[in-house]
């Protein structure tokens, strides 16, 4: 069977146009924000289970073994590419829609009573997201870069002890987790709404689950550096 190269090129061109048109509409961007957001939520859970190993009282043997397995696993390496793509899309589209939203109202209202009409968390997604992004960069700088890029001789557990004995970093970590909680308070249930999942039967449960997740997950994350700072 012969396959013309121009036909192949046209197929790619058509697919690109279809996706670019579809996802560049405001509803398309919203879809991408929701999908990447939910993907990052699943990542948070995986990350948290790993972190919990820091609390095991065996001088970091299980935590080191876990992090070694993670960095040698082929599946995790592939997932890592998805994860970085997810972060880039979520942050990139988040910034784009925020700028577009600012431009959509050039003259602000003289009197603003938005606290009466919408939730605090929903109005500050850009602010909480930006600060969590700054935290993410610092976090990559203290764990991902030394271990995966520079291949330093320290074990993951030793790195964690060094970083979490810096009081400024521990304070910033707690601050970032509070902001992550704020971000998730709106983000979790908002993602479902953006995907068109809204029904009287289950939307109240999704909202409740979202609040629970936004409260518990950042709290458990924040407990770990505090525990290490005071008791390790």
């Amino acid at each position: 069977m012969s396959y013309d190269i121009t036909e192949y090129k046209n197929t790619i061109k058509d697919t690109k146009k279809w996706l670019a048109d579809g996802l560049s509409r405001s509803t398309g961007k919203k879809f991408l924000m929701a999908m990447t957001g939910l993907f990052l939520i699943t990542f948070l859970m995986v990350h948290l289970f790993g972190n919990l190993l820091l609390l095991v009282n065996d001088n970091g043997i299980s935590f080191n073994e876990y992090s070694k397995n993670m960095s040698h696993s082929k599946i995790i390496r592939v997932m890592e590419i998805f994860l970085f793509t997810g972060f880039i899309f979520h942050i990139g589209f988040g910034a784009t829609v925020s700028i577009q939203n600012r431009l959509a109202r050039k003259i602000p209202y003289a009197v603003i009573k938005s606290s009466e009409t919408s939730s605090f968390f929903s109005r500050y997604m850009f602010h909480t997201g930006s600060l969590v992004f700054i935290f993410l960069l610092l976090h990559l700088n203290s764990f991902f870069i030394p271990h995966r890029v520079l291949e330093s001789g320290l074990s993951m557990y030793e790195s964690a002890l060094i970083v979490f004995h810096n009081p400024l970093f521990v304070l910033f970590y707690i601050f970032a987790m509070i902001l992550l909680s704020f971000h998730l308070m709106h983000g979790f249930q908002s993602a479902f709404q953006s995907l068109g999942i809204h029904h009287n039967k289950y939307t109240p449960s999704i909202k409740l689950l979202g609040r629970f997740f936004a409260l518990v997950v950042p709290l458990v994350f924040a407990v770990i550096p505090v525990y290490i700072y005071f008791w390790k």
Binding site: S26, N101, A104, R105, K113, S119, S122, L195
Partner: protein, 275 residues
């Protein structure tokens, strides 16, 4: 009742506006908010000034013409009503009323409190219709529709296009308006033949007007005088995802019908009469 009335004054679309404060005395509690503006305008006219322009038509909450922001609240501090349904007794605890027009890039100010909401008309022209041939009245029993479906379609159809959703949204997004128009037709059998093209071209038209993106803050739902809910936006999202996969090439937004209904109708009329 005596009150300071601080109103946005802007002579033309292109000029810069600013707030001007007027003092009104001896107001009646049972005066409507728009009657208060009428009285204020009488006073300004007597003093030889330029009266305040504001939109209004039916003054009974069903036309969608009126609409201003009163002390930071769209259509005033009450829920589920338009500006014309606000009475001075609802506002008497304020010393000063700050009255602003809808603020959105897509709704340019024509004068004072009057905004140009034709952006909504252009979105409707892009797909907010069904194409059927006229003829005899269809039999009432010919198209069965479930009761709760009919109720949902009717609830969506109660949107009066006042623009409060855009004015209330922190992002000046028009998603609630568009979703009401989409859902209203998407729920009913008559809306099915054109549903894919409808959502694609209406969303395209919406984005072209320069509205913001929906971030699910739900401020629109809170302020909507007709109680349009966020469920409609979820429906809009579902309709859009479906259309992404199902719309045919013939339904592509470059189809000659879109937004040119009159021209096509005229051409068809002349065609048949010339032959």
């Amino acid at each position: 009742m005596k009150m300071n009335i601080k109103i946005w004054r802007q002579a033309f679309q292109t000029t810069r506006g600013n707030f001007q404060t007027y003092i009104l005395e001896n107001m009646d509690d049972n005066m409507s908010f728009l009657e208060m503006l009428d009285v204020l305008n009488e006073k300004i006219l007597h003093e030889g000034g330029d009266p305040v322009s504001f939109s209004h038509d039916c003054r009974e909450g069903i036309c969608g013409s009126c609409g201003v922001v009163i002390n930071g609240r769209v259509h005033g501090p009450l829920q589920g009503v338009t500006t014309c349904q606000i009475y001075m007794r609802h506002l008497k605890h304020y010393k000063t009323l700050v009255i602003e027009p809808w603020r959105a890039r897509a709704f340019p100010i024509i004068k004072d409190l009057v905004t140009d909401r034709q952006a909504f008309d252009r979105i409707l022209q892009a797909g907010g219709y069904i194409s059927i041939n006229t003829g005899g009245i269809p039999d009432a029993n010919a198209t069965p529709i479930g009761r709760h479906i009919a109720d949902q379609a009717f609830a969506a159809a109660s949107c009066i296009g006042c623009g409060a959703c855009v004015a209330a949204c922190p992002n000046a997004s028009a998603n609630l308006f568009v979703s009401a128009k989409i859902s209203h037709l998407a729920f009913l059998p008559q809306g099915q033949p054109e549903k894919n093209h409808r959502v694609e071209s209406m969303l395209k038209a919406m984005d072209k007007e320069g509205f913001g993106n929906c971030s699910n803050t739900a401020a629109c739902e809170f302020e909507c005088p007709k109680g349009i809910t966020l469920k409609n936006i979820a429906k809009l999202n579902r309709e859009y995802f479906e259309a992404l996969f199902r719309s045919s090439l013939e339904e592509h937004p470059t189809h000659p019908h879109h937004g040119k209904g009159d021209e096509v109708a005229h051409a068809a009329f002349h065609d048949t009469h010339e032959k």
